[in-house]
């Protein structure tokens, strides 16, 4: 591949964990700081960039491809908050066709349209749907499209399980030029043992935490206004959390190939945490001793 223009970052994570919200706030924070940013939603739901562009209609790349007309960048992109260029790959209707191949085709098409040469971004963020379920969804971290991936996770077991699966994909592709891991974004953090679980997980897998994002009503409120927190509540503490996270991601060049846990190991690890949480909740031991 030719010399990459800008840093290309893929954001993965379990369905509904907060990928789109977090990615959009990072994009908004980076743009606010003066960077040129593109956010590409790699998801047939095509809702990744909603809060960056006030929920306005944006035709997806694959919608245009389906119609078979000649495609121009202007038709499939729109500038949102602070000039973030918003693009949605789109996909087939649920239950039909191959979404994995769709994402692959959309990204290829964007490259063919010289998106990066034209826009000259500092950062390109790929908001990739759900878990890595098949080869198609691993496309953004394969083939050198992105060089770094972040995973959004809460302290829930299934979210960490999805993160571990992503680690497996990175582990497989990184040696042949695929993306490496930038870190875990710990989302929906609440007081209590949640941080400790994620911290233990990153330690076990040889990775690190890029930032903690609290669970906050500001996020939901801003979303209802069709905005990011950065735009709707620029002075809030939550906005500063996203700014911190964006700064970290912008600077971080410490990329690793994770050591994913095996299935049995992961289950065993979860079980020990299950016991500890039970004890904590029931006041058997204090938090400090539990850690």
């Amino acid at each position: 591949m030719a010399e990459k223009i800008g840093k290309h970052i893929a954001i993965y994570g379990k369905g509904g964990i907060g990928k789109s919200t977090t990615t959009s706030n990072i994009s908004a924070a980076l743009a606010e700081a003066g960077y040129r940013v593109i956010q590409i939603g790699c998801d047939p739901k095509s809702d990744s960039t909603n809060t960056l562009r006030g929920n306005n209609y944006l035709p997806t790349v694959l919608d245009s491809l389906r119609e078979g007309n000649k495609i121009h960048l202007e038709d499939i992109s729109v500038k949102g908050f602070s000039g973030v260029l918003c693009i949605e790959s789109g996909g087939p209707v649920p239950g039909v066709g191959c979404a994995g191949r769709g994402i692959n085709a959309a990204v290829t098409l964007l490259q063919e349209l010289h998106l990066f040469e034209e826009f000259k971004p500092d950062f390109v963020l790929y908001d990739v749907l759900g878990d890595v379920v098949c080869g198609g969804f691993a496309v953004p971290i394969r083939d050198g499209i992105t060089d770094r991936a972040y995973v959004v996770s809460s302290s829930d077991f299934m979210a960490l399980y999805a993160a571990n699966n992503l680690f497996k994909a990175i582990n497989k592709y990184a040696p042949s030029g695929g993306a490496k891991l930038g870190g875990v974004i710990a989302n929906s953090m609440k007081p209590g043992y949640h941080r400790e679980i994620v911290e233990d997980f990153v330690e076990k897998t040889g990775t690190s935490i890029a930032g903690y994002v609290n669970r906050s009503i500001d996020v939901q409120q801003s979303e209802l206004y069709g905005k990011t927190v950065i735009e709707a509540k620029p002075k809030s503490a939550q906005a500063d959390i996203y700014r911190e996270l964006a700064k970290y991601i912008a600077r971080n060049d410490d990329l690793v190939i994770p050591n994913p846990m095996g299935v049995a190991e992961l289950k065993e690890w979860a079980r020990t945490w299950g016991d500890r949480i039970y004890d904590i909740e029931n006041g058997v031991v204090g938090l400090a001793e539990a850690i």
């Binding site: 694959l62 491809l65 389906r66 087939p92 209707v93 039909v96 066709g97 191959c98 191949r101 085709a105």
Partner: protein, 469 residues
């Protein structure tokens, strides 16, 4: 997991199904795949001996699916293609052949087929993705699928005919002599007083598929006939007779007649009369060939290369009638590990050949021949190179055969037996004559300039003197 097969002689399931449908008169194939899938089959067939089948070349109806059909699903493209095909190609039955792509994308082809059937069109579909199996798999599955759905699209009363038999297991285009063999087996069964659904070639057609349910018996002449035969048994309770191979020679005709008599009523006198005539005919012609057989030393040692049915059929004849010794048999129709067939023909094979190998890899087959050192090879044109190298004759009996056109010549039954002897003696005579002329030109001192040629001739001379003592 995967390994490279050098010059494989088998296409994928889609190709087997396509070959099969192409040879059923009135049936129109509609390939739901990307454009290349059908064309590969065309090129493979073109290089071989069978001529061109119906809808051959680039004119096979197909969806030629592209990237956007993979992404958004190809079902609507298929609907369009079926409708167009029905408009421009007259057919009694349209058979949708699903490939790897449509299977992986998960197109709901069944729903699409139902939709068109509801509009009154005779359409059936089958999944013959290449990752499911090879050409032989394609043959048995497309037939089984057609037979299980044809009643729904071509309605007719079931009316069992006690003299009607279905025959399966001879794969069109896969045996160079398939057409002649079908005709010959039909002639023989009719000689037994039976009527035959041949399905393929000029005597077959969609009507045979519709009528299959009225048969009193289904005979599978190779393991690949088993699945469609069992399908008819399951649906219509038609008994199945599994034979390891087609018969060749009068004695095997008698054994076939006996086993048919074990399943259905046939007129013993009529059969005896017919067999007596066939035996007389066989005796007469073999008698006429006796000097050629003896003078050309046909009772040599051999390696046999071909599909299991061909190996069993030919092997039994070569050992029992010509008294040959088969050092090794190479079986080229591979079964996948998880494919279940009732037929287990290993005992037959053990009686035929010293060593039995299963491979369709040209390099491996050459290595086998190299180590077995036979005096003659029965195989395909792919074995010609190694035959030339070892300076032994090759008789082309299995797919592919490159430098011939074979339309209705048989290699089974009585006619096939006779034409096989003709072919074998012809090759042996020609081989001998060539050797003689090489020897003569060596003695006269021609071609001594070329050292490579000389050394080859010297080797030939040595071998010849060994043979002639």
């Amino acid at each position: 997991m995967s390994e490279i097969i050098k010059n494989p002689r088998n296409g994928c399931a889609l190709h087997g199904a396509l070959k099969t449908v192409q040879e059923i008169k009135g049936a129109v194939p509609v390939i739901h795949a990307n454009a290349g899938c059908g064309v590969i089959n065309y090129f493979a067939g073109k290089a071989s001996s069978g001529g061109s089948s119906r809808y051959s070349g680039y004119s096979v109806p197909g969806t030629a699916i592209q990237d956007r059909h993979v992404i958004f699903g190809g079902a609507s493209r298929l609907r369009e293609q079926i409708k167009n095909t029905i408009k421009v190609v007259n057919g009694d039955l349209y058979v949708i052949l699903n490939s790897c792509e449509s299977a992986m994308v998960g197109d709901d082809v069944d729903a699409m087929t139902r939709e068109i059937v509801d509009q009154g069109e005779p359409v059936v579909d089958t999944l013959v993705a290449g990752f499911n199996g090879g050409e032989h798999y394609g043959y048995e599955h497309v037939l089984a699928d057609i037979l299980s759905s044809i009643d729904g699209v071509k309605k007719s009363e079931k009316n069992t005919d006690p003299k009607l038999v279905n025959i399966f297991g001879i794969i069109p285009g896969k045996d160079p002599y398939w057409q002649g063999n079908l005709e010959e087996i039909k002639r023989i069964l009719e000689g037994f007083g039976l009527r035959v659904n041949t399905f393929f070639g000029p005597y077959g057609g969609v009507d045979d598929l519709v009528n299959a349910k009225n048969a009193a018996l289904t005979i599978a002449f190779s393991k690949w006939g088993e699945l469609p035969a069992e399908k008819l048994k399951e649906k219509y309770d038609i008994p199945v007779l599994l034979r390891p191979s087609l018969p060749v020679g009068a004695e095997q005709l008698r054994s076939l007649a006996d086993s048919i008599a074990g399943s259905i009523d046939i007129d013993k006198d009529e059969v005896d009369k017919f067999l007596a005539k066939e035996e007389a005919y066989e005796r007469d012609l073999l008698y006429r060939a006796r000097e050629d057989i003896i003078e050309n030393d046909l009772s040599a040692t051999a390696v046999l290369v071909g599909d299991e049915e061909q190996v069993i059929r030919l092997g039994a004849f070569l050992t029992e009638v010509l008294g040959m010794e088969i050092y090794a048999a190479v079986i080229t129709d591979l079964l996948k590990k998880d494919e279940e067939h009732k037929s287990d023909n290993i005992e037959f094979l053990k009686n035929i050949a010293g060593n039995i190998y299963i491979t369709s890899d040209q390099k491996e087959i050459e290595d086998i021949i190299r180590s077995e050192k036979p005096e003659v090879i029965f195989g395909s044109s792919l074995e010609k190179k190694i035959a030339d190298k070892f300076d032994i004759p090759i008789i082309e009996t299995s797919y592919p055969v490159f430098e011939k056109l074979i339309l209705n010549k048989a290699s089974a039954g009585i006619k096939g037996e006779i034409s096989f002897i003709e072919e074998y003696v012809t090759v042996a005579k020609k081989f001998k004559a060539e050797k003689k002329s090489k020897l003569l030109s060596y003695i006269k001192g021609e071609g001594r300039e070329s050292s490579a040629e000389t050394s080859q001739t010297v080797r030939n001379v040595r071998k010849l003197s060994l043979v002639t003592g």
